[in-house]
Assembly symmetry: C2
Homo-oligomer: 508 residues x 2
């Protein structure tokens, strides 16, 4: 039989792992899955393809038989994600030790699942939570599910680069003083651009109020494994961090981890909230890839990341020489919202060439097969990991060198966002995101939406700071700004009408 609801019946009692004895050269979950994949049992369990025997040709070619043979359910040897007592427990304890946590949970619903569970575990309905306005949309989903009331902090904003950084310790202090009843502070660090905030100072402020600091560290899972990388959030004092192990390490897409330390997070409750938002049929390929990623970093992370850093430094140096291009560099890290930069994340400003980032992306992609992670009006952002080779860097530099020379017409300029940045902290919105999400809605022509309450999260890129959140009042200034962004060639995400002719608001 497969497990799920009956772990305690099948699994022998295992003693708790002794932290001192953790052997990072082991990969208990990966090894057990490999053993099960090699067995030729008579399978009367899910999944229906039965070790790939029933898989159609096209999918078998795409995946190969090894992956199919390892796509197994909660067999007794494979433990139970939601009540681990075997190889998942061991793998999670090894991960906790390697990533500097006291306890680690493996996630198969991405960092999204971790962010949702973290908010649900710290906020009861109606509770206040202080959070950066440039949080990932999963944090807003967490507010909707938890019924929490957000106190939004504007992140530091660099008007020249048109990039949002981290929230500042000062803003957090002010918000805590205005809202001493807040249950938690949540921030993103590093940002998509690799920019880290002052997690240490912010954690200290939170702890003065005896509340936890939750960090969306989706893009920083490699930080713990090389001294030249920014300090990981946990090492800086955060109580909880969520990491997309697939983004910068070698897990499969959608595999992530949630780490906790200290006693400001109720761990039992967190375990229960994680069970609320994750599939009860977790995919073991994803889970095993987390074990493998931990093993790789714990045993050879420093060496691998040394090579990665070396490739990234070489790329930076060569790109800096290309006329018309400039780079976000660690020496710009000297403001309260920008205290460190991940050197493996290259943000290249192409505006000096007289073309915008979208056009540059098209050229790189179509003519050179060089694909960036993120394009915006002024910049392209490239992620370099241990998976990249010297040839990739060579192709990147060659492609960038071939971009049109700096005599083209200037790209449109974006309107200054600064005018929209409300004082810190923002006032509480009239409705919580949950109330706005659940309210009856109507779709209004944009000209008539002013004064109504938005049900949409409207976020212009750049700079990736939402201008309207569900529950907030639609202002004329916000609409004017969004229309300017569109006119300038920017992207607006979240709107039910991408052309922004209409807006979905709470029906009055």
């Amino acid at each position: 039989m497969i497990l799920g609801f009956s772990t305690h019946k099948i699994l022998p009692d295992r003693p708790r792992v002794n932290r001192q004895l953790l052997d990072q050269t082991q990969f208990p979950l990966l090894a057990s899955l490999q053993t099960c994949a090699n067995r030729r049992d008579a399978p009367f369990y899910t999944p229906g393809h039965k070790h790939g025997a029933g898989t159609p040709d096209g999918l078998r070619t795409l995946l190969g038989m090894p992956a199919l043979q390892a796509d197994l359910p909660e067999l007794p040897d494979l433990d139970n994600l939601f009540a681990p007592q075997g190889v998942i427990q061991e793998a999670q304890e090894l991960a906790a030790a390697a990533f500097g946590a006291e306890q680690t949970w493996f996630l198969t619903n991405g960092s999204t699942g971790g962010i949702l569970a973290a908010i649900l575990a710290t906020c009861h309905p109606g509770d206040k939570i202080i959070l950066a306005r440039n949080m990932h949309q999963s944090a807003i989903s967490g507010l909707v599910l938890a019924g929490a009331m957000p106190v939004f902090l504007q992140p530091e904003y660099d008007p020249q680069l048109d990039i949002a950084h981290s929230i500042t310790p000062e803003a957090v202090t002010e918000a805590l003083s205005a809202h001493p009843d807040a249950r938690a502070v949540m921030m993103v660090s590093p940002t998509y651009y690799g920019v880290c905030g002052n997690v240490a100072a912010i954690a200290q402020r939170c702890h003065q109020y005896s509340i936890p600091l939750l960090v969306d560290e989706a893009h920083g899972s490699h930080f713990a494994f090389h001294p030249d990388l920014p300090t990981p959030a946990l090492a800086a004092g955060a109580d909880l961090s969520v990491q997309s192990i697939h983004k910068t390490l070698s897990a499969l897409t959608q595999a992530a981890m949630l780490h906790v330390q200290g006693d400001r997070i109720e761990r039992d409750r967190l375990t229960r909230t994680l069970a609320l938002v994750q599939s009860t049929s977790p995919n073991y390929l994803l889970l095993a890839s987390l074990d493998a990623a931990r093993h790789q970093m714990a045993t050879q992370g420093k060496k691998l990341l040394e090579q990665t850093l070396s490739l990234a430094r070489q790329a930076s140096a060569e790109i800096a020489q290309i006329p018309g291009l400039s780079l976000l560099t660690p020496d710009q890290a000297k403001t309260p919202g920008f205290t460190a930069l991940d050197p493996t994340r290259l943000t290249v400003t192409v505006a000096g060439l007289g073309i915008d980032g979208f056009r540059a992306d098209e050229i790189l992609h179509n003519q050179f097969g060089v694909i960036c992670e993120l394009a915006s009006l002024q910049h392209l952002t490239f992620i370099i990991t241990p998976g990249n080779q010297a040839t990739d860097i060579h192709r990147l530099v060659c492609a960038l060198k071939s971009l049109p020379s700096p005599f083209s017409p200037s790209p449109s300029l974006l309107p200054p966002l600064s005018s929209l940045l409300s004082p810190l902290p923002s006032p509480l919105p009239p409705l919580s995101p949950r109330q706005a999400f659940c309210a009856p809605t109507e779709t209004l022509p944009i000209a008539q939406a002013t004064g109504h309450i938005s049900t949409e999260l409207i976020c212009p890129y750049p700079p990736g700071i939402p201008v309207l959140m569900p529950g907030e009042v639609v202002t004329e200034a916000a609409i004017a700004y969004l229309q300017q962004v569109l006119a300038a060639g920017g992207i607006i995400s979240g709107c039910s009408d991408p052309g922004l002719q209409t807006l979905k608001v709470v029906r009055m």
Copy 2:
């Protein structure tokens, strides 16, 4: 760049697919992923392993390079799950046509994600929903997230087999008449044992009240593809069904679909609630496996399922000849809560041998490598799919024949559940599941828990009907029953203390 928040910028406008022109021999998503996997671009995007180049040896052996090369993010050619306009849209439209839906959504967080979203899309906070008490735990998670108030219906219960079937049309009629303000009815069909309820009659009752019927059809995704299988929920009139395509068809574990027809489900809202509970970094191996499973069934499902049915019939016939064993058979399908049986799901009663199902499972597993899906005190349940071969059936029959002869001592008998089955419909609990989940808790010795409000979902197997739900009052009868189940060797899931010495209740 990768997509996610910027689809409309990159993808060319595509005309809506013409249903008449749908070509089920195509697999647009799988084909596009294969093309991208074959490309040798210079990857500066996630995932960090970069086509497997950074994958450590152990994981590379487990998965093989093909799967790693296909583990890709939302590249422009791969569309965006949350705003599909390209190959995902096409693949979903093909799936809708094949599964008999008007619209289909691909899910990467399992059927769990679909059940959560379905409840969130139909129930606002405080709304009533009528649902079977033997729903999957994800439905209770959905109640917690939505803040809905459950009107629980006891499923039909077979005391001889100690198995819970479906809810009955009569029970639904009574509940609707007592709670005409309910927003939806939700049921599970087929059950884990392959037992189907009278979806058609229940749908009709729902539609008289203009509310939708939501069906957890996790175990019935193959029904649409062979006339000898039970009628699919949609064909019987359900408004929404959720199917674990990985359970009986050939998708990867954790890949599922949600289907909708008619206008009783607000589809925009459903799209938004699905985005709340699913990773924003969806795994494309899972998504492509859904496209492949649909293609396989649409093009050769009838032939493949004919073979599967033939294997299942052969197994049934041979098992029925084994002294001491009996089978759940379609001719038992003649009660309001048991109108059809999935013939590919074999539930074998071993109680006649004088051993319990757990012991029989151990023997089959350890001595014969024959692994069932589910073991309970009296039964073993086996899932037969197009992935099974004749040799599997041979091994199954041989293994069952070798079980100890019927002269061993009788297994313990379970107490009759009937005493606990409350009248239909159950009274509303004092707290909603959300209120109980969010309330401050205390852990009490079981003897002192009577009269308190449970925060736990306590479910004995068999028969898999929860005895206590979060928000319900703990009764002496419930505790006595649970203790009898444990004493008889049954399994109780959901308790924070598996030995049931203590219970977590709402602090008074």
